[in-house]
């Protein structure tokens, strides 16, 4: 596998583009490269912190939903 170590860890963390077979191969490759569970958990925590820190609450204000509804009715 040509991915660097962080790339492999993120493949595992995100999983959405991995088939079960590929997931197995990624895990094996990580083991071969000496990547421990702590390291994977660390990267997972960093990723979660980025998501939390940048979500800003995340829900769309009601006035925007109403505005979009009326936009769709105009055309």
């Amino acid at each position: 596998m040509n991915e660097d170590l962080m790339g492999l860890i993120y493949e595992l963390l995100n999983r959405r583009d991995l088939s079960p077979e590929m997931e197995g191969r990624v895990k094996e490759e990580l083991k071969l490269r000496g990547c421990c569970k702590d390291r994977i958990e660390f990267e997972q925590r960093v990723l979660l912190r980025f998501r939390e820190a940048t979500s800003h609450g995340g829900c769309c204000p009601d006035r925007l939903k109403k505005k979009i509804q009326s936009l769709l009715e105009e055309f």
Partner: protein, 222 residues
């Protein structure tokens, strides 16, 4: 006088294939089914698209404007959406283009990626750096970096990324799109997306290290 002068509001579709060198135009109004399909598939994505717009623009008002603009464009150009294809990716593409166009308008010069910044981050792994900085006596690098750095540090790190890398990180790592969806949204090949993600993540980790050092969470290096 041509028919389209009489009926300017009708949009027409050519069936796939056509006959001979020219397809036969079938004149159909934008049907209620397509509109309904759009409302059913697109409206549930408002919160998600707003979240993405907020991550891109870092400003709630700008995010609202971006999302309104994206929906208005999508609705007006609904005939360009191919039924059965990925509406989520299509909407993200419209949103991202709206953001990029607004962003470019505000900048006078194209952004240059600092080769120096990238080179320094090339092989940077935060975990390794924290662990070696701690020496034998410390604790868990997670406690140091992740638990003591604030949301502001993480946001600043993301802001420090060049726009090309930031867009890929936001769409893939933070918004949860697939490689194909990110590729469709940004209109670049999957290989380019993977490369930007790889470099972007390392720049982010270098930025977090710098924040941890500036906050006194790690020892200064000699």
């Amino acid at each position: 006088m041509k028919w389209y002068h009489i009926f300017p509001d009708l949009k027409f579709y050519t069936p796939a294939g056509g006959t001979g060198a020219v397809g036969i135009a079938r004149i159909l109004p934008m049907d209620a089914t397509r509109k309904k399909e759009f409302q059913e598939k697109a409206l549930p994505l408002i919160d998600e698209l707003y979240g993405a717009a907020l991550r891109m623009s870092r400003n709630p008002q700008a995010a609202e404007d971006l999302v309104s603009e994206a929906f208005a464009r999508a609705w007006k150009n609904l005939d360009q959406f191919q039924p059965g294809t990925n509406m989520r990716a299509w909407l993200y593409r419209i949103l991202t283009n709206a953001y990029i166009n607004n962003y470019r308008r505000k900048r006078r010069e194209p952004e240059k990626i600092s080769v120096d910044a990238y080179d320094k981050a090339e092989d940077f792994y935060l975990y390794n750096r924290l662990a070696s900085n701690a020496g034998g006596a410390s604790p868990d690098p997670v406690k140091v970096a992740v638990d003591h750095l604030t949301d502001v540090h993480f946001r600043k790190a993301l802001r420090s990324l060049p726009e090309e890398y930031r867009a890929s990180i936001i769409l893939y790592d933070l918004q949860g799109l697939s490689y194909q969806e990110v590729s469709d949204a940004l209109e670049v090949p999957i290989g380019t997306i993977r490369s930007r993600l790889s470099r972007g993540r390392k720049i982010l980790q270098k930025a977090l290290w710098d924040h941890a050092r500036d906050a006194g969470l790690v020892a200064l290096e000699n």
